[in-house]
């Protein structure tokens, strides 16, 4: 294979390497930020603080796995926050009435709810040919409405939840909470799914060149449908985790959560034009967000900045990608 010519300047080399490995680029940026924050406060570089960051990002990471798959197909799922809330509220109501339900059964129920709602998204986008941004914008509101219908406007409070549900995410193994381990476990499962299972690879195929995928005999509609079901299922799982970790199911649970998952993906190198994205990248994107969140708190910057940060981070990440791609293309043409 013809190797790319080495860059002529340091900047070009840097660009090439950043474009080649997004993970490396975020890592470098994170190290810089960590160094700066550590200089400002000693509370940052501690085991407990990192545990907090990991706990905070676990749910984002789980949902971002599904978001990544949807985005690879050139779609987007902005209803994940609402799916999460439906799952949390429904499961919360069930265990309030039946305290004996095992947490793992609760997770299965959450998965089922998520798959059901996800398949609605998948059906409308795939078979009714509605653009995913419109479909999931609609279901963002539709599913949120279901939360209110289930709850009747009330919350499931901590004292109404059985201990088993409340503690299982925090149970530690070697000092690491179950929630974190579970997110890593899902990450590994889906790493193999998207890298080694035919359907997983076909997700990349349809996002990379849809016509080619059709011509190759791939069942493009099925694959497209499945990614929304998976995205829903993962949001459903996250709903149960949310219920456990925060011991509450509120009507406004996870409002705006979709933005964090998209941010994790985009920062983690998932292309907004589809066709590429990796699980390690998404996890690093999620960690990056969690770290900035944490730093904002520790340094004492106003909470209000967080919202602005998510939006800006997405735009900055996409601009960086565009700049890098343009540079590479221009160099290739010359």
């Amino acid at each position: 294979m013809t190797a790319k010519k080495p860059g002529h300047s340091f900047l070009q080399k840097l660009f090439t390497n950043l474009a080649r490995s997004r993970e490396l680029a975020i890592l470098a940026l994170m190290v810089v930020i960590m160094a700066i924050v550590s200089l400002r406060t000693s509370a940052f570089f501690t085991f407990n603080n990192f545990k907090d960051i990991l706990l905070d990002i676990s749910m984002v990471s789980i949902v971002a796995i599904g978001q990544m798959m949807v985005m690879i197909t050139t779609g987007i799922d902005i209803s994940v926050g609402s799916i999460l809330a439906v799952s949390a509220m429904a499961v919360g109501s069930i265990v309030r009435a039946n305290p004996e339900v095992n947490p793992f059964i609760a997770i299965l129920i959450g998965i089922g709810i998520g798959m059901l709602l996800g398949s609605f998204n998948g059906f409308v986008t795939t078979f009714m040919k509605i653009p995913p941004i419109i479909t999931t914008l609609g279901t963002l509101s539709f599913f949120r409405g279901i939360v209110y219908i289930i709850s009747g406007g009330t919350w499931v409070m901590a004292h109404q939840l059985p201990e088993g549900i409340k503690e299982f995410t925090m149970r530690t193994t070697f000092g690491i909470p179950f929630l974190v381990l579970f997110a890593i476990f899902l990450g590994i499962i889906f790493y193999f799914f998207v890298n080694r299972v035919p359907i997983g690879r076909q997700i990349y195929a349809i996002g990379s060149n849809y016509t080619a995928a059709v011509l190759a005999g791939i069942r493009v509609k099925l694959v497209n449908f499945i990614v929304y079901v998976i995205s829903g299922a993962l949001a459903g799982i996250a709903g149960v985790m949310w219920l456990s970790r925060y011991a509450i199911a509120a009507n406004g649970t996870a409002t705006g959560f979709e933005l964090q998952t998209v941010a994790a993906c985009v920062i983690g190198g998932v292309s907004v034009f589809g066709g590429s994205g990796t699980i390690p990248g998404v996890f690093m994107g999620a960690f990056f967000i969690g770290m900035i969140n944490n730093a904002i708190n520790l340094i004492g910057i106003s909470e209000f900045w967080k919202q602005a940060f998510y939006g800006l981070a997405i735009i900055l990440a996409v601009i960086t990608d565009a700049v890098i791609n343009n540079r590479l293309r221009r160099r290739k043409n010359n």
């Binding site: 294979m1 035919p198 690879r201 990349y204 990379s208 060149n209 016509t211 080619a212 995928a213």
Partner: protein
């Protein structure tokens, strides 16, 4: 076809296919022997690509039979066709840029562990490397397809075909983007496949290549089967005659108009990788036809002149003055207008009314105190619409509700509003009905009479011959022929259009 010795590996009988009322194929016959290299030739729109897609299972015929190994089969999707050992290499690349070479080869039929949907990753890469070395090449099968040359991508496509154990390989214009050395390489590979008993259907515009590689050749014209010939028993002239062999019975309302001052002259236009050394002139009252087959880059030349994609090199004179035209706006200032080929994509804003479409190019004329004077705009639009006889329920009607012919008239109206001195028409009558076609031709004659200089790109030989005062022919980015109205014949033009380099 003279004699059939072995039973054909693939036979198509009575295949017809139409798209939205337009007949792409009518009652077509085609037969392929094992281990033969069978060229498929014909003008643009002759139905070659449609036939290919039917064999590959992408399109389903409206009627007719596909017989493979003595069995009538229906190829209702590409997978079925693949399972019958048919692989297709399309003109547009069907590769996944961000995936590695091995995956590109095996996408859709990944090697898996028995009973488990888990890809044998290492074996897949070893097998990919083996297939590529079978083709006599070396590649790192772990590297991404992005960054490969077109020739290398073609190797990947060929390896993909091999990976499916293809017995029939269809290639649509595989040589159009290759250098001469790469073409030689490709032919070497095709012959190798032939020795293994693979039958190859080779679609090409280049007759010299057909004579070099093919055993037989089938000619299509206007969606119909014309003939199949053994390559040894035919000649270039005969093939050209068969490709164009219709009688010129359509009457064209060509007016004799005095051809006077030079309006446009281009010299040495080049655009890297697209076209080179294009020089010609265009005069007042003249209709200059620009002919050629798909990939001749005629549209690219027109768009370069109109400033959409300015050329890398070359000079443009307008009415004897050297001009720098770097944008459509600059071109319009010089009195140029360009009516694009794809009306829906480039010509009309479908969701807008006809009036708004017509006045889009000249809206500034009607502005009074920063607002558009609606009455003036309406008068102007209805004037032109009447002149062109655009049939509408009213000028408020949305462009998308018009018929193809009336849409084409609306596009023309939009540009005629600018009162162009130089008018470039890209396939002005493609896909419109006969009546509207005649009206457009009539209009072209009228415009020429009024002193407009017209450059007409057309893939229809009768139209080129019927309407042009002079004919230019392009082939793959080169000007390969120029004929006066008296000289131009279908055969001469087709010969120039299939010639690779300047004679």
């Amino acid at each position: 076809m003279a004699k059939t010795i072995i039973t054909p590996i693939l036979e198509l009988k009575g295949i017809s296919k139409s798209f939205g009322g337009v007949h792409a194929l009518t009652d077509v016959y085609f037969s392929l022997q094992p281990g033969e290299i069978h060229a498929l030739i014909g003008e643009n729109g002759a139905g070659k690509s449609t036939l290919m897609k039917i064999i590959a299972g992408v399109h389903q015929p409206d009627s007719g039979e596909i017989i493979i190994k003595d069995q009538i089969e229906s190829f209702h999707n590409p997978l079925v066709s693949q399972n019958h050992g048919i692989a297709a290499i399309y003109q547009e690349p069907t590769l996944y840029m961000d995936l590695d070479i091995a995956e590109n080869i095996f996408m859709g039929h990944h090697p898996q562990y028995p009973g488990i949907p888990y890809i044998k990753w290492k074996e897949m890469h070893q097998e990919a490397a083996r297939l590529i070395s079978l083709l006599g090449k070396q590649m790192n099968v772990y590297s991404k397809v992005r960054g490969l040359s077109i020739a290398q991508m073609q190797i990947v496509e060929m390896a993909k075909a091999l990976s499916m154990n293809a017995r029939i390989l269809i290639m649509d214009e595989p040589t159009s983007a290759l250098t001469q050395n790469e073409v030689a390489d490709l032919f070497h590979l095709i012959r190798k496949l032939k020795l293994d008993g693979v039958a190859v259907i080779f679609i090409s515009h280049r007759l010299e290549e057909v004579f070099e590689i093919a055993d037989c050749v089938t000619i299509f014209r206007d969606g119909r089967f014309v003939d199949t010939k053994f390559i040894k028993e035919t000649s270039e002239n005969e093939l050209i005659r068969l490709m164009v062999g219709r009688t010129l019975d359509t009457l064209f309302p060509k007016k004799q108009v005095p051809i006077t001052d030079e309006m446009l002259r281009v010299e040495g236009l080049c655009k890297n990788g697209l076209f080179r050394n294009i020089s010609f002139s265009l005069h007042k009252g003249e209709i200059l036809g620009l002919s050629g087959l798909v990939g001749a880059r005629r549209t690219e030349v027109a768009q370069a002149i109109f400033g959409i994609n300015p050329p890398d090199q070359g000079k443009i004179w307008i009415q004897g003055k050297l001009k720098e035209i770097d944008s459509p706006n600059a071109a319009m200032k010089e009195g140029m207008a360009y009516v694009p080929e794809d009306r829906q994509m480039h010509g009309l804003i479908l969701g807008m009314g006809i009036k708004e479409n017509i006045t889009l190019t000249v809206l500034r004329q009607f502005v009074k105190l920063a607002l558009v004077d609606n009455n003036k705009e309406g008068e102007f639009a209805s004037g032109i619409a009447q002149q062109l006889e655009i049939k509408t329920a009213g000028l408020w009607q949305k462009a998308q509700e018009l018929s193809g012919g009336n849409q084409q008239k609306a596009v023309l109206a939009k540009w005629l509003g600018t009162k162009p001195k130089i008018l470039i028409l890209d396939e002005p009558t493609r896909g419109i009905d006969v009546g509207t076609k005649a009206a457009v031709h009539q209009l072209m004659g009228d415009l020429a009479e009024q002193g407009v200089a017209i450059l007409m790109i057309s893939s229809e030989l009768p139209e080129i011959i019927g309407m042009s005062d002079r004919v230019l022919v392009m082939c793959e980015g080169n000007l390969t022929g120029e004929f006066s109205r008296a000289e131009a014949t279908q055969e001469k033009i087709m010969k120039a259009a299939t010639r690779r380099s300047v004679p």
